[in-house]
C-alpha cells in the first residue's frame, strides 16, 4: 500500500473507532434510563382513571438489580410481573389511582412535616382500609411525593415485630408482611414531573439520602403526563 493510502486507512480507522466509542458512551450510558411503564386504564370509570400498582422493598434483590441487590427500591407491576422502573406514563386531565404494597420497615422522617397527606383526592390516603390524612412520622417508611403536582403521600412501614417479612425483592403481597396504601390524584396538563421519596431509607449513606435515594429507577422517578 502506498504511504498515502496507509495514512488514509489509519485516519479513517481512528475516526471509526472514536465514533463507535462515542456512540457507546452516549447510548449505553448517558441516555440509559429505566423503561417507561404506562398506568393501566380502568374500564367503565365515570372520570377517566388509570391504575398504578407499586411495591417498596428494603432490598430489591439480584433479579431486578444485579449491580445493587441490597438497595432499597420501588417496583411497579406490569402484566402480572414486578419490574424495576420508576418512570410512569399517565394520561392528562384524569385520575390516577395508586396502590402501594409497603414491604419495608420504618425509618422515620427527617422532616416530620412530610407525614401529612397533601394533594390527593379528598386529602387522604387509605392505609390497610382506613382513611388517614397524616401518619405517625416515626412510622414512615417511604413517601411518594410529586412536588410539582403538590402530591405528598407518606407510606407507613411494616412494624419490626411482624412475621414473615420480605427480605429480598420482588416481594409477594399474598404471603409476606406488608401494608397496603391507596391514594388517587389528579393530573392536569401534559408534562414531565419528577417524584421522589423523602424518607431517609438509603442505609449506609450520609443522612441516608445517598445511593438509591439519588438514583432514577430506585427511589426517584418521573410521572410523564401525556
Amino acid at each position: 500500500m502506498s504511504v498515502m493510502a496507509r495514512k488514509l486507512a489509519g485516519v479513517t480507522g481512528a475516526v471509526v473507532i472514536v465514533g463507535v466509542l462515542i456512540g457507546l458512551y452516549i447510548n449505553n450510558w448517558a441516555v440509559s434510563t429505566p423503561q417507561a411503564i404506562s398506568a393501566t386504564p380502568v374500564a367503565d370509570a365515570t372520570t377517566p382513571t388509570s391504575d398504578l400498582t407499586l411495591q417498596t422493598d428494603a432490598a430489591v434483590g439480584p433479579q431486578e438489580s444485579p449491580n445493587h441487590p441490597d438497595w432499597v427500591s420501588y417496583l411497579v407491576k406490569q402484566n402480572g410481573r414486578w419490574i424495576r422502573s420508576t418512570i410512569f406514563t399517565v394520561p392528562a386531565n384524569s385520575l390516577v389511582h395508586v396502590t402501594v404494597y409497603q414491604f419495608d420497615g420504618d425509618s422515620g422522617l427527617r422532616n416530620p412535616f412530610l407525614s401529612a397527606v397533601q394533594g390527593t383526592v379528598g386529602g387522604t390516603e387509605t392505609v390497610d382500609g382506613k382513611a388517614l390524612n397524616h401518619i405517625n412520622p416515626e412510622e414512615a417508611s417511604h413517601t411518594f411525593v410529586v412536588p410539582q403536582l403538590g402530591v405528598f403521600v407518606p407510606l407507613p412501614g411494616v412494624p419490626e415485630e411482624a412475621k414473615n417479612q420480605c427480605e429480598v425483592g420482588p416481594c409477594d403481597p399474598g404471603t409476606m408482611a406488608h401494608r397496603t396504601v391507596e391514594f388517587t390524584f389528579h393530573t392536569g396538563a401534559k408534562g414531565r414531573f419528577r417524584w421522589q421519596c423523602f424518607v431517609p431509607c438509603a442505609a449506609g449513606t450520609y443522612f441516608n439520602f445517598g445511593g438509591p435515594m439519588q438514583s432514577l429507577g430506585y427511589m426517584d422517578g418521573y410521572i410523564d403526563v401525556v
Partner: protein
C-alpha cells in the same frame, strides 16, 4: 546520535519487553486488581455500611492508587531512584534517541515531553468538549429529556473537572516544557524525569476520571462540595483520585519550572532580559507550587470522610461544610489564575513578533503578573459571599477582589501599547491574540460585577458566573492556547498549518464562542441557576440559541482537527526555521531542534534584547524597512 545496537534485528515481541507503555498498562491493570482485592479484605465495624450500599470505596481508592503506581513503575519511573539507591552512577538521559517510540514512554528530552503534553491535552480537551455538547443537547429542552438526571450531573461534573484539571497544564505542559530551556539557554529542564512524570500522571488521571461512568458517576460538579461529596456513590472516588493526581502533577511541574528558570539561565540572561512568556510561566509556577498541595490535602480529607467515617465536613460529627468550601477555594482561586496567567504570557510574547515592535511596558507587565499571583491568594472568599460566612469578612474580600483587577489591567495597557503604531500582520496566531484581548476584557469586566456583593447576590450560582469564567478561561486560555499552537507547532514539529483552514477555524470559533457565551450573561441575570437540566419555560428560546451556537463552536474544533490531520499527516509541508521572523531564541535554533538544543560547546551569550524590533521614532524621518536577516 548513536544507533542502538541491532535494534532492527530483534523481533517485535522482544522489543516490546521492557519498561514501556505496554508494561505500564499491564502493571497498571494488575495494580488495580491488587488494590481492589486488598480493599475487599479490609474489614471492621467501621466498614459495615459497605454491605448496605453494595459499594466499597476503600477498594476503589486502593485500586486506583495501586493502579497508578503500577502504571508509573511499568513506564520505568522507579528505575532511576532504585538504581541510585543501589549505588549506580547518576545518568541524565533516557530513551532520547529511539524514534517514534520516545513519545510513548518515559523520555527525558523536554521537547518530547512538550509534544506528549500537546497530544494528551488535545485528547482530554476533546473528551471534555464532547461532554459539553451533551450538556447543550440536554439544555435544548426545559425538562430532563435526553440524558438521565444523574448522568446529566456526571456529564456536567466530568466536563468541568476534565477541563479544569487538564487545562491547568495547557500552556505550561506543552509550551513551557518545550521552550523554556531553549529560551533561557539551557540544554534541559532541571528535573527531566519529574517532567515526564507530570505528564504520565496527567494521562493516568484523565483515564481515571473517565472511568467514573463505570462506578455511578459523581453528582457534585467540579467543585466537589461537601457534604454531598460524602453522600455520593463510588464514582466520586474517581474525581478524588483525579484531582489528587492532577494536584501532585501541578506541584511537580511548578517546582520544575521554578528551578529551571532560577538556576539554569545562560550567562548574560538577567531577570530583566527574560522573555515575558518566561515571567508568566514563573508566576504560574509559584501559584502551582503553593496552591495545588491544598487541593491534595482537602481531597484526602474527603476520602477519609468517605471511607473511615471521619467527620471533617459532616456537622453531625463535629465538622463543617464551610471547612470544605474554604479549603477548596483557597486552592480554587489561585487555580483560575494558573489558568489565566499563561494566557497573558503567550499573548504578550506573540504580539511584538506580529506588530514588529518591542513589548510595550515590560516592567509593568511583570508587575501585573506578579501582582495577580500574589493577590490571588487573598480573594477566595468572594466565592462564598452569600454562603453565610462571617459578615465582617465580606468588605475585605470585596476590596481584595476589586484590587486584583488592577494588575490585570496592566496587561491590557501593555497589549494596547504594543499595538500602538505597530505594523500588525494578522496571521492566525495574531488573530487568536486579538480575540483573547476582547474575550478576556468581557470576562474581566463581568468579574467586577461578581466581586460586588450586592450584585453577586443575584448572579452567584447562576449562568452569569458560567459566562464569566468561560470568557476568562475559554476565551482567555483556550484562545491563547490555539495562538500558541499555530505559532509554535512549526518549530516543534517542523510542519506548517494550512492558513485558510486556520483562519476558518478562528473566525468560526470566535463568532460561535461569543454567540454561545454572551447570552449566558442574560440567562444568569434572568434567574437560571447552574448545573440544572430543568429551567423556566420562558428561557427556552435563549437556551436553544446557545445550544445551536455551541454545536457550531464544536464544529469549529472539528475544522481544527481536520487542519491537524490534513497539514500534519497528509500534506506535511516543511516549515522554515523562523517563519515569523521572531528574534526570540527558540527561533534562532534550527528546525528540528537538536537534542541538546544548542551546538556542543559553550552556550551563546544571552545578553541580547528579545524584543529588538522596530525602528526608533525619528523626528520627521520616514519609515524604514527592517535590516535584512533580522
Amino acid at each position: 546520535m548513536a544507533q542502538p545496537p541491532s535494534s532492527e534485528a530483534r523481533p517485535l515481541w522482544r522489543r516490546l519487553i521492557g519498561f514501556n507503555l505496554l508494561t505500564a498498562v499491564i502493571l497498571g491493570v494488575g495494580g488495580y486488581y491488587l488494590g481492589w482485592f486488598i480493599g475487599h479484605q479490609i474489614n471492621g465495624k467501621s466498614f459495615e455500611y459497605q454491605e448496605k450500599i453494595d459499594e466499597n470505596d476503600v477498594a476503589l481508592l486502593l485500586a486506583y492508587v495501586f493502579g497508578v503506581i503500577g502504571f508509573l513503575i511499568g513506564l520505568g519511573f522507579a528505575n532511576y531512584p532504585i538504581s541510585r539507591l543501589l549505588g549506580k552512577p547518576a545518568s541524565l538521559r533516557e530513551k532520547e534517541d529511539h524514534g517514534i517510540a520516545r513519545y510513548f514512554g518515559l523520555c527525558t528530552d523536554h521537547k518530547v515531553v512538550g509534544i506528549q503534553y500537546l497530544c494528551g491535552i488535545g485528547l482530554f480537551f476533546f473528551i471534555g468538549g464532547l461532554n459539553a455538547m451533551l450538556i447543550r443537547t440536554e439544555l435544548l429542552h426545559d425538562t430532563p429529556t435526553f440524558v438521565g438526571p444523574g448522568q446529566y450531573l456526571t456529564i456536567v461534573g466530568m466536563h468541568g473537572t476534565m477541563m479544569m484539571g487538564i487545562f491547568t497544564s495547557a500552556a505550561l505542559g506543552p509550551f513551557a516544557n518545550y521552550f523554556v530551556p531553549i529560551m533561557i539557554g539551557a540544554r534541559r529542564m532541571a528535573f527531566p524525569r519529574i517532567e515526564s512524570l507530570t505528564f504520565w500522571m496527567l494521562i493516568a488521571a484523565g483515564f481515571i476520571l473517565s472511568s467514573t461512568i463505570f462506578f455511578g458517576g459523581f453528582p457534585t460538579g467540579w467543585t466537589g462540595y461537601e457534604p454531598l461529596n460524602d453522600q455520593a456513590v463510588m464514582g466520586m472516588d474517581s474525581y478524588i483520585v483525579f484531582f489528587a493526581l492532577v494536584g501532585i502533577s501541578m506541584c511537580l511541574l511548578g517546582i520544575n519550572m521554578m528551578a529551571t528558570i532560577i538556576t539554569m539561565r545562560a550567562p548574560g540572561l538577567t531577570w530583566s532580559r527574560l522573555p515575558i512568556f518566561i515571567w508568566a510561566v514563573f508566576a504560574t509556577a509559584v501559584l502551582m507550587v503553593l496552591a495545588a498541595p491544598m487541593l491534595v490535602a482537602t481531597l484526602s480529607m474527603s476520602a477519609l470522610d468517605r471511607t473511615i467515617n471521619t467527620s471533617f465536613f459532616i456537622p453531625g460529627g463535629g465538622g463543617s461544610s464551610y471547612l470544605y468550601e474554604n479549603l477548596f477555594w483557597f486552592f480554587g482561586h489561585p487555580e483560575v489564575y494558573i489558568l489565566a496567567l499563561p494566557g497573558f504570557g503567550i499573548v504578550l510574547e506573540l504580539l511584538p513578533v506580529f506588530t514588529r515592535k518591542p513589548l510595550w511596558g515590560y516592567r509593568l507587565a511583570i508587575s501585573g503578573m506578579l501582582g495577580v499571583s500574589l493577590l490571588s491568594f487573598f480573594v477566595w472568599q468572594h466565592h462564598l459571599f452569600v454562603s453565610g460566612i462571617n459578615a465582617d469578612l465580606r468588605p475585605f474580600y470585596m476590596l481584595s477582589t476589586e484590587i486584583i483587577s488592577l494588575p490585570t489591567g496592566f496587561i491590557f495597557l501593555c497589549v494596547m501599547g504594543t499595538l500602538w503604531k505597530g505594523r500588525a500582520s494578522f496571521t492566525v496566531p495574531m488573530l487568536f491574540c486579538m480575540a483573547w484581548t476582547f474575550n478576556f476584557l468581557i470576562g474581566g469586566l463581568s468579574g467586577v460585577f461578581l466581586s460586588d456583593t450586592p450584585s453577586d447576590t443575584t448572579t452567584h450560582g447562576s449562568f452569569f458566573v458560567m459566562a464569566h469564567f468561560h470568557y476568562t478561561i475559554m476565551g482567555g486560555l483556550v484562545f491563547s492556547f490555539f495562538a500558541a499552537i499555530y505559532y509554535w507547532v512549526p518549530k516543534m514539529l517542523g510542519l506548517t498549518f494550512n492558513e485558510m483552514l486556520g483562519k476558518a477555524h478562528f473566525w468560526l470559533m470566535f463568532i460561535a464562542f461569543n454567540s454561545t457565551f454572551m447570552p449566558l450573561f442574560a440567562l444568569g441575570m434572568a434567574g437560571m441557576p447552574r448545573r440544572v437540566s430543568s429551567y423556566a419555560p420562558e428561557l427556552k428560546g435563549l437556551n436553544v440559541w446557545v445550544s445551536i451556537s455551541a454545536f457550531v463552536l464544536g464544529f469549529s474544533m472539528l475544522i481544527f482537527l481536520y487542519n491537524v490531520v490534513y497539514s500534519l499527516i497528509f500534506v506535511r509541508k516543511r516549515a522554515e526555521a523562523n517563519p515569523w521572523r521572531s528574534k526570540s531564541m527558540e527561533w534562532q535554533v534550527p528546525t528540528p531542534v537538536p537534542i541538546e538544543n544548542f551546538p556542543p560547546g559553550p552556550i551563546p551569550s544571552f545578553d541580547f534584547d528579545p524584543y529588538d524590533y522596530g525602528v526608533p521614532p525619528s523626528p520627521g524621518g520616514g519609515a524604514q524597512p527592517a535590516p535584512a536577516g533580522a
